[in-house]
């Protein structure tokens, strides 16, 4: 018997299906305003349901495993998916962008989640999947957003500030002196959502994980403690990941000869075409 059936009320199949009717609100609105979202809404709803039901099965299986290697492999797979999705939302690409994103996501999430399970929360054993996997998931989901925002902003910033950057280079600036304003702005923008969410935490939003714990019958005071730890984990992992990915992109889009290498940048659509060809 899984722990979930002990705490909260179980949602029956019929009622689960009934909840799907809520999406009709969106479908109706889309039809009335001709937003053209009907198809996307349908696909998104079906994907969400199927993915979550599958994850339910996978997690149930995973929580009964006790091999560290297996659990770490699952974690690595999650990090890879996050690294790839972070890039897919950007409007421009360069060779090596996926590797940069993967490295940044993996290094930052491994470091922060590792510290959390070995030092802060200390489940037994440290790789206990019931702790490790949800914690990693929370960290990855947020780091992904930061990385894709930071990358996108950095590439866009270099493009729009190109004349300024090259003017500085022509006046004898090093590549760092010429690009630092763009680097700073990209990192700053990528950190804003995390800071904003911490600002209103508990006042406007009750985070999903805390809601879940409370529904399970956990004492709110205990659930809150988990939430605090998780938010600090998210903030530091996002900062590390964004710093890493923007730094690697900076190294790639400039050269040791202090040149701007925007010729290495292509639009996402063209990059996709190139891959298909």
């Amino acid at each position: 018997m899984t722990p979930s059936s002990a705490g909260a009320l179980t949602i029956s199949d019929g009622r689960l299906a009934l909840s799907g009717l809520l999406i009709l609100v969106n479908v109706g609105l889309s039809a009335a305003l001709r937003l053209g979202l009907g198809r996307s809404l349908l696909v998104a709803s079906i994907r969400m349901v199927v993915q979550l039901l599958l994850v339910g099965f996978v997690l149930e299986w995973l929580f009964h495993q006790d091999q560290a290697t297996l659990i770490l492999l699952v974690g690595a797979a999650m990090a890879m998916i996050a690294g790839v999705s972070a890039v897919q939302r950007t409007r421009h690409r360069f060779a090596g962008i996926y590797l940069n994103s993967l490295l940044s996501v993996m290094a930052s999430s491994a470091l922060v989640t590792g510290l959390a399970v070995t030092g802060l929360i200390q489940p037994q054993p440290w790789y206990n999947p019931q702790y490790l996997i949800p914690l990693l998931g929370m960290v990855l989901g947020n780091t992904l957003n930061g990385i894709s925002l930071g990358l996108d902003r950095f590439m866009d910033g270099l493009r729009s500030s190109r004349d300024q950057v090259e003017t500085d280079l022509a006046l004898g600036a090093t590549r760092w002196e010429a690009c630092q304003a763009v680097v700073r702005e990209a990192i700053r923008v990528a950190m804003i959502p995390t800071i904003n969410s911490m600002m209103v935490m508990g006042l406007v939003s009750l985070p999903g994980m805390m809601t879940g714990q409370i529904l399970q019958g956990a004492a709110p005071a205990a659930a809150v403690r988990y939430q605090i730890v998780i938010l600090f984990m998210i903030a530091s992992a996002t900062a590390l990941g964004v710093f890493g990915v923007v730094g690697l992109a900076y190294a790639r889009l400039t050269s040791a000869d202090h040149q701007l290498r925007l010729d290495r940048l292509v639009r996402a659509a063209e990059a996709a075409d190139g891959k298909a060809a």
Partner: protein
């Protein structure tokens, strides 16, 4: 105006040999040699799209590696370091850019680059002297750089470059947005500045008469 080779009685400042540049599949130029001696004012003559701007960018080493060897005062770029090279072979872009703040703030900003540390600081007197020669008073220094006209922006860019006394000044349409009187003043100012040391410049201009007036020799790029 016939093209004459660089005279040998004056010191050789910049040499570039075997230059080749492609843009996509198109060969812009190949086996191009170029030498600048002190006092040279080289006018680049070529139809639009022949790569005049790219040639200046190439000399400032702003673009990814291309075919060709470069020497400044006998030393290759690697020996100088790229920031130092660009401080000495200074390129002024066709469309000048200014950052936020006043004209004075923009003139001061590049003095803070690592490359220039310990090499002096901006001289108010020198700048106002130049401004007077250009028919502007010192109030120009307090203008908001982001609200300058195209012509004023060109003056700002010119002074921002001149104040570092580069060995070679690469001018890309420096007077395109200026009236006739200011253009004449800029030419006179440049002539004086060039005469004050072992310096040379390369000029791109859409105005054939300006090349005729200002250049001591010309280089023609074929399309």
């Amino acid at each position: 105006m016939p093209s004459r080779p660089a005279p040998l009685d004056r010191p050789l400042l910049l040499s570039a040999t075997g230059l080749e540049r492609r843009l996509g599949d198109r060969l812009l130029w190949s086996r191009l040699d170029l030498a600048l001696a002190g006092g040279d004012r080289l006018g680049l003559v070529a139809p639009s799209g022949a790569g005049k701007t790219l040639l200046l960018r190439t000399l400032a080493l702003l673009d990814p590696p291309q075919t060709g060897t470069f020497h400044l005062l006998g030393r290759p770029p690697a020996a100088w370091g790229l920031p130092r090279w660009r401080a000495m072979v200074l390129y002024l872009a066709q469309r000048p850019v200014a950052g936020g703040g006043t004209v004075a703030a923009n003139l001061r900003a590049p003095w803070r680059f690592q490359e220039r540390r310990g090499q002096g600081r901006w001289s108010h007197g020198r700048i106002t002297g130049w401004l007077a020669a250009l028919g502007r008073d010192a109030a120009f220094l307090d203008y908001d750089a982001e609200r300058l006209s195209g012509g004023e922006l060109q003056l700002l860019a010119l002074l921002r470059g001149l104040q570092f006394d580069p060995t070679v000044l690469l001018l890309d349409e420096p007077t395109a947005s200026l009236d006739a009187a200011t253009t004449a003043a800029v030419e006179a100012l440049l002539t004086d500045w060039l005469a004050a040391g072992a310096r040379a410049c390369v000029l791109i201009s859409h105005d054939g008469e300006q090349i005729e007036r200002f250049a001591t020799r010309t280089l023609e790029l074929q399309r």
